[in-house]
């Protein structure tokens, strides 16, 4: 990942939308972690938060309710969208209708 020279710092902490999505994750999936503690670059599935395909389905419903768009299997690769909090938030940013 490269950064523009005038960016003060690489993105490490949760950005505003990432904070919001982290809270959604914890609430919808009833995770036993604090939303603030989710590291934006860490994997959501398998390792990291340890989510699985049942969670993906649950998450898709919540995203459609909150952001007004549907997840589809042929969207790029779902693996990339769900790779991390950061990639998920970026996907939401691009596709959200509300």
């Amino acid at each position: 990942m490269t950064y523009k020279p005038n960016d003060p710092e690489p993105l490490t902490g949760q950005q505003p939308l990432e904070q919001e999505v982290a809270r959604l994750l914890v609430e919808v999936l009833q995770l036993d972690v604090d939303a603030e503690s989710i590291v934006p670059e860490e994997p959501l599935f398998n390792k990291g938060l340890g989510l699985d395909s049942i969670d993906a389905l649950e998450l898709a419903l919540a995203i459609s309710r909150s952001y007004g768009f549907e997840l589809k299997s042929d969207d790029e690769r779902n693996g990339q969208i769900f790779a991390s909090l950061r990639s998920l938030a970026r996907h939401i940013e691009i596709h959200r209708t509300r």
């Binding site: 699985d52 049942i54 389905l57 549907e70 299997s73």
Partner: protein, 450 residues
């Protein structure tokens, strides 16, 4: 429609021009399938057992057909971890694996198949008749002690059961059903409904995406009526909650976990359809069905008979199949009708996968530094999509994260505990057992936290 006790059953019991699989923008006929199966049969490695890891239903079926032609046996396993594949290699010796996803890492002799099939000359290849006793597949599931147990499936048994299912669900030659399945093909239920039915009955199976509600809607919209959605309670509930419009559905079929009558009724009303539930087990295959919204009793498939067995279970007999024992507790009302009293206590199901709690406990207590431990399933595991197992461990020297890391790779991801709770001791009674009430009490504080 019962199958005669013939010694031979064709590989594909469909007319050459019949459409057996449909992918986005592409159809595959019975002739295409035979052509591709004969071609593949010549390229498969020389092994007596072939682990079929293909995700795409068309690809999966071509591998199944090719191995059946060659006299090889397909191994179907939901657990595709390197450990599981190595365990299969230890057991069978002569083994290879085939996958259509380049990301699959197999420790076995491995063949990767591209999805884009080369155009053959369909119609030119013979459609051989296979002996009914040919062992075409072994389907693996976790046994009561946690080690994988294989259920042997012969071509005759699979063909006879497909015919019985077609009869039960009213699949008619004049109006072939379009099956949209959301269940993986290597799961027994998905194998029977989305792979075998098109080979033996007037049905065509969808090969495109079918995971998210929007996938299912798109899939149903791209296939002709009559449409049959083959799914699970989990996905059916997600579909209802997604509140989306679906094209006319002839019926919905559900299995893998109990479906409640309220959900079934809601789905019937929402999409003006019928919701049927299949009762089955990996060892036995699909054996009975009911219309969940209105029927409490299960009616066995044509030719399938039940008799009371040990410990509240039942003995099941079916055409061309070895008699099998049903481990669920049932009340046999007559040989073709029964009522489910309870599921076997030790078995948990999540995401269509099955595990034995005692097997999971054995793995947990086998981890270095774990003195004692137990997995617990919440009461509402079947109904609440976010429900997962929890583990309680006595491990003074190890952190919850370390224990979770050790479990990862040894057990299927869906069974990984969502929480690992470290405690001083488990509430074992004087004979070392964990009374059910004591276990429930351990789960209880959770309810207050959330």
């Amino acid at each position: 429609m019962t199958l005669p006790q013939a010694a031979l059953v064709p590989l594909v019991a469909r007319a050459p021009a019949d459409v057996v699989f449909r992918a986005p923008g592409r159809i595959f006929t019975a002739a295409d399938l035979l052509s591709e199966a004969h071609r593949l049969a010549q390229t498969l490695p020389d092994a007596s057992h072939v682990v079929n890891l293909c995700h795409d239903r068309w690809r999966f079926t071509t591998v199944l057909a090719a191995t059946a032609l060659r006299g090889q046996t397909c191994l179907l396993t939901s657990d595709v971890s390197p450990e599981q594949l190595r365990a299969l290699a230890d057991r069978f010796g002569s083994i290879c694996s085939v996958a259509d996803d380049p990301a699959v890492a197999s420790p076995l002799r491995h063949l990767h198949l591209d999805l884009a099939a080369p155009g053959g000359r369909p119609g030119a290849e013979p459609n051989p008749e296979l002996p009914t006793d040919r062992l075409v597949a072994i389907v693996f599931t976790s046994g009561s002690t946690g080690e994988p147990v294989g259920s042997r499936k012969t071509w005759g048994e699979l063909a006879a059961r497909s015919a019985a299912a077609a009869s039960r669900f009213g699949l008619l030659p004049g109006a072939p059903a379009s099956i949209v399945g959301t269940v993986p093909p290597r799961h027994m239920y998905g194998f029977e409904t989305t792979i075998l039915l098109p080979l033996h009955a007037p049905a065509c199976s969808w090969c495109g995406p079918s995971f998210y509600p929007s996938d299912i809607r798109a899939a149903l919209a791209s296939v002709p009526a009559p449409r049959v959605l083959v799914t699970t309670p989990l996905q059916l509930r997600a579909l209802l909650r997604a509140d989306i419009h679906l094209p006319p559905l002839a019926q919905i079929i559900s299995a893998t976990a109990p479906l409640d009558a309220a959900t079934a009724l809601a789905a019937e009303r929402r999409w003006e359809t019928q919701v049927w539930e299949i009762f089955g087990a990996t060892e036995l295959g699909s054996i009975a069905s009911r219309r969940t919204a209105t029927d409490a009793d299960w009616i066995t498939y044509d030719g399938v008979r039940m008799a009371p067995g040990d410990a509240g279970g039942a003995v099941v007999t079916a055409p061309l199949a070895e008699p099998g024992a049903l481990s669920d507790v049932v009340e046999v009302l007559d040989p073709a009708r029964f009522r489910l009293v309870g599921r076997a206590d030790d078995v948990v199901k999540l995401g269509g996968r099955r595990a034995s709690l005692s097997g999971l406990n054995r793995i947990l207590t086998g981890i270095a530094g774990v003195a004692d431990g137990v997995f617990l399933a919440p009461e509402d595991l079947d109904e609440r999509p976010t429900a997962r197992l929890q583990a309680f461990v006595v491990a003074p020297e190890r952190s919850a994260e370390e224990i979770l890391a050790d479990l990862r790779g040894r057990i299927d991801a869906v069974f990984l505990p969502r929480r690992v709770v470290r405690i001083d001791a488990l509430p074992r009674n004087e004979i070392g057992k964990l009374p059910r009430q004591a276990l429930r009490a351990m789960l209880a504080p959770d309810a207050d936290e959330t």
